[in-house]
Symmetry: D2
Subunit: 409 residues, 4 copies
């Protein structure tokens, strides 16, 4: 423990991580470097500088990572139509590997031998931070105060602040909420408090990024999203950077009551937990990307992606972004996106997303093949008989040999 | 061709299959047995009797298969949270194996040596009917008039009717629609006409089973669905038969604007096709079943199901219900459902389904493990450090040996 | 630690576990119950009774589990043609869940609140024992002395024996070997010592169950194995119990130099380890079962099994036998074995297993379909053209739309 | 039919394809271009020129494709440790896409509008040729004489030769064999004749590329194979081209009785067929590559490859080499091979391949982590307790809630 000389802390500027700064300085007698990132969580990051300085921190890193976050993490993930357990769009999971990477890069830059974070010992985030850190710098030490200290109640934490003269008037919105929250450009999440009873409906007050469908406009909003090689590049004809795309979709989606879910999920550490999530832009992107693929992707390419997706989602959820298996899966996914370019038209209305149009210069949809009218020769209906006969052959032989389904369960 | 003595025809009572009756009698000089099933398509089946008699059919089978359909086909499929290509709930696909089975059973009963159906040579349904038939009766002959005859336009068909004195005043709703439709208790589908351009939005007039979200009530509807071993058994505390469950959910869902999709899908025969589907009850069941599983299913059981699902969906979509692989997959799925019992509470509002509660005597959710409060001993946060360390070990060794992600792509 | 009142120890009768008995009595001040099983490791188990008595143990369980082991663990696993990482037949892995189960049953019977084992803190066995124990009795305490004590060198261990008057003349063969070994009816394994350098060839002296191919007879041995529902039931026409089948195949295989492998494998705990294994009977069973399936199993059933197998192998290797996912996978596998009955003929010669014949009343092999002679009508070669055309359709459309492989990498 | 102007024929120079030249000229009244490739089948290809000329062919392509075959088809396939149905190394399957590609390239070059091949209507090869052709040139016509003509017996074929003055003294070895054979640098295959009874052992006379294990030398042969990025590049320290590597391994393997299998496999067209294969070099490469990976590949990378492999094998076996799904799978596989470099040492003896050594500058094997001696700190055995506890958590919770395996089947 006493070996740590310098530690890079993922510092939000909030109360908890401010206590951690002090605690690290005292318990580990080590220098603390703070790292605060703007990932689109919707709060100013610059104020963290003064707070860190007040705590005696000399090396302070404050960075706007929004474009890198969306371009190198969110978009690659959405190429796979990634969903965890049928519902969750991995909003928290996908931000962690970027933070882990920057923590390690800063450690390398500042000569730190440890990193620290404010995640608890029961959640997935500790795993995601630490797996990333170990993968990128195998000899690093990791300090997870919540697994070590005894400041585990609000009361003991406040006493610690008083003793150590840490100002507690960090009056952010977060403080007033009874929920444990996490936000970035992709989503905001809520856990804890009354959500702990999965039979109780969430209260309307909890939600922050979207209006309820009931409060959304009475007329639909139509938008067109343009894709290039699997990534969205323009909205309603206007080209935008990755982060701006997502910000714009968050705004439009939130106004139309889109992207709320309320689920019970399985954590990597072994227990079930209830979480509520708002992912307005991501929810739109998921539908739009699928629609884009529906006319541009080969059938077997799509089915292969669909079969591999749950595994890819699990890899990300469990924190293995910086792993060989993630790289390999990404290679497979990316190899499919060359022609996923074109435009999708969506109707947004009170929580609903309807796909109402898709077009592409690379469209594989060919109504002259698919329709019921007379053929121009591309498709000979008589081929179907042979196709069916040979597909049935193994089953016919089995049935001829006496194997039947009629008498079996 | 001339070998066929007696053929069982899947007979809807509509114009096309009436023409087929006559055409089979003439071309094949064989006796025709008709089979008409009520699968919940929303039209009377009894009128088919008089029509068949008028065409000289002597053996006429008219059956209500709704309960068998939902109990033995729809429910087993929903146990897997089955979706084809991320969107399609397989409403048409799942009805075909039951029809194939009854065609073959009736062929065995009546001594027929062939079956016939009215599906075209470009679609999936021909495959589904015929794979089922061959699997259940390997020596059966299959007649698919649409792949053989030259009555391929509305005009030639009408001429044939006139020549053969087939009454064309079958004035069902279907006749007036420009769309090719298929319906059963699980869904109604629309293809063709202006849908052939995937950039054009469907017209509101097309939809039949649901109101548009815009037309749905301004106040939400709350319902509770009770599950036993993975199947719904009661709604709002009232026990119902499988078919009644689905009928009830269709009604509630349709009133609330739930269950419409508009997709481009990949057919087994090789082309892409646009389809619009209304699946009000099925859409509700999918969300409800997932929510029920979310508190009752083991994590790895759920993930295994999720990974296997796209393959199971493909097996059904492609028409391989009566196959060894479907039986094997079903065995895996069913083995997971023993404790999927309890109640799910849903809020339905203008096209939205929100899960607002779930409870079960077998719930694996345990807030005393999941919450952030002090532990009662079930979970020691310090275990997490070891858990992470060993999960990271292979990555740390690789990084120590010089493999890093920081310098790679 | 002091809470444990009574512990059931997996006791081999060897030196290490004898030390553990004493250590548990001293450190935990608890009563020790010993459990010694004959799993076919080739050593007498009865002598363990006197040794345990000498150590003051009052409740001593000595059991012959060979039939249960082969019938309920080995055979189900072989139905899946299970191999870990392309080479390893899971000889050690498959024995652990049975031991775990008996430890827990004995704990329940004797009122013990803990179990203990002699596996080290670096291997897979600790995981397999403990996952099984926790799954079967969630409140059980687990004591793994090798993770706790400081007797980690041969010297300290010997000193402990001297101090505590534990007789060290347990002169079993194992003691004289420089290798860490484990044996049961399925295999014997070797680890450690000079195997730690993966570039060094194993020495001939190490191997115990088989002759080297060079020393095997110069004439081949032919055997016939009869299968019922996926399990072997007779050898050369003689019906045998499961354990006798495996014992017999071990003998025949060992005499013919069959079943040695030398691999580097990936442990669940994160590192690579070199292991040498002799699995004479198992190696024969794997080939024989595949051959039996080759004529009796449907193609897609086989392919589904093949795709799921690596996952099933991993589940067993990692110690999750007593899990929902293993039960689900087993259900899928077992559902395929109904017709895997018949006889396989093998030629064994100096390490080689050649399949030279297979027959079955349920054979799906039909030379009249497969041969190149004129057809009797079961297969119309012209169907193949349609089959190919529709399988090619998606690729033809893509190529028509300008996507080609000729110019791409 | 009459539309074809010029056709490129895959021409072996043998009797059957010579008849096809004549038949195409007569039936289709079209010009025939011949393409003969040296893929290492062990027969001179140059004599095909004179034969084609004698048949009036003006455009004759004779090419040595051995290096391209091994480098771009065999080696990429072996990176995945590809095996079909647990036994078959895909020797025939992997040659077809190269032939298809050259047929199409020659068609493009010579202005031909069709391709033709001599594969029968019951096998896989027709599918592989034609899927490749359609994928690479969607408008191409395909002529498969064996599916069309009536020269289906040896007698009718001979009559045709006599009528058309085709010399039948093509006295190749093949002619004298009762088996249908196919050969290239990767393997030689045998089908038909007495192999049609799967209970009858193959006769020793049939095999051509390897001695029987009984006839192999009494002393073992040791070899070292060096790998770079997943491909073998040198044998016993001597660098060689891809084709030379495989030729060399075929020679060494064949002399040591290595690489024979006798299987019943499932064809894509629906029936089971018996095949015997000799793959001496390929069998060695499979073992060697796995051994190379065993010390250089990350665990999860290996497991992912293992799980995806059966699907990749099926894609190749079924003829979908030139497909999106193959490209995607290849991208995943290739992404894993960056560090699969080093040396494997093998002992070959009378049909056996033993891995006796593996080393690599990128080895992930670290005996200081894996061994049982005291630790240097890389691995803390106490971490294992936490690792196991959290892995067990979901199962413990389930058991606490009353779910047990002890009472269940």
């Amino acid at each position: 423990m006493s070996d740590v000389k310098k530690v890079v802390l993922a510092y939000s500027g909030g109360l908890d991580t401010s206590v951690i700064v002090k605690w690290l300085q005292e318990e580990y007698q080590c220098e603390v470097v703070t790292f605060t990132a703007d990932l689109g969580q919707g709060e100013e990051v610059e104020p963290a500088r003064a707070k860190a300085q007040a705590l005696g921190v000399k090396e302070i890193f404050i960075e706007d990572l929004r474009e890198e976050f969306v371009r190198d993490f969110v978009f690659p993930m959405f190429r796979a139509n990634t969903i965890y357990e049928g519902e969750y769009l991995l909003g928290t999971s996908i931000a962690r590997p970027l933070i882990a990477k920057r923590l390690i890069e800063i450690a390398n830059e500042t000569g730190a031998d440890a990193i620290a974070h404010g995640a608890t010992g029961k959640g997935n985030d500790q795993v995601r931070f630490e797996l990333g850190a170990y993968a990128l710098k195998p000899g690093v030490s990791v300090i997870a105060p919540w697994r070590e200290w005894d400041l585990t109640s609000r009361e003991t934490l406040m006493n610690y602040c008083e003793e150590h003269k840490i100002p507690v008037d960090f009056s952010t919105k977060k403080k007033k909420s009874p929920y444990s929250m996490d936000a970035n450009l992709l989503h905001i999440s809520y856990e804890g408090d009354q959500l702990e009873d999965p039979w109780i409906e969430s209260e309307e007050d909890m939600w922050r990024w979207s209006v309820a469908p009931e409060q959304a406009p009475d007329t639909p909003t139509y938008i067109e999203i343009e894709y290039k090689h699997g990534d969205p590049v323009a909205i309603n004809g206007e080209e935008m950077s990755p982060a701006t795309i997502l910000e714009t979709l968050n705004k439009i989606g939130g106004e139309n009551g889109i992207g709320r879910i309320d689920i019970v999920e399985n954590r990597f550490v072994g227990m079930k937990a209830r979480g509520c999530y708002e992912t307005p832009g991501g929810t739109i992107m998921l539908r739009a990307h699928r629609a884009m693929e529906s006319i541009t992707l080969d059938r077997e390419a799509m089915h292969l992606k669909d079969e591999i997706m749950p595994r890819y989602a699990k890899v990300i959820y469990n924190g293995f972004w910086w792993s060989e298996e993630r790289r390999m899966l990404q290679a497979l996914i990316d190899a499919s996106q060359e022609f996923v370019s074109g435009t999708v038209r969506l109707k947004l209305y009170k929580g609903n997303i309807e796909v109402v149009g898709r077009k592409s210069p690379y469209s594989l949809f060919d109504s002259s093949v698919a329709t019921f009218e007379d053929d121009a020769g591309a498709y000979d209906q008589k081929d179907a008989a042979g196709f069916i006969k040979l597909n049935a052959l193994r089953m016919r032989i089995a049935a001829q040999k006496g194997r039947t389904f009629l008498d079996r369960d």
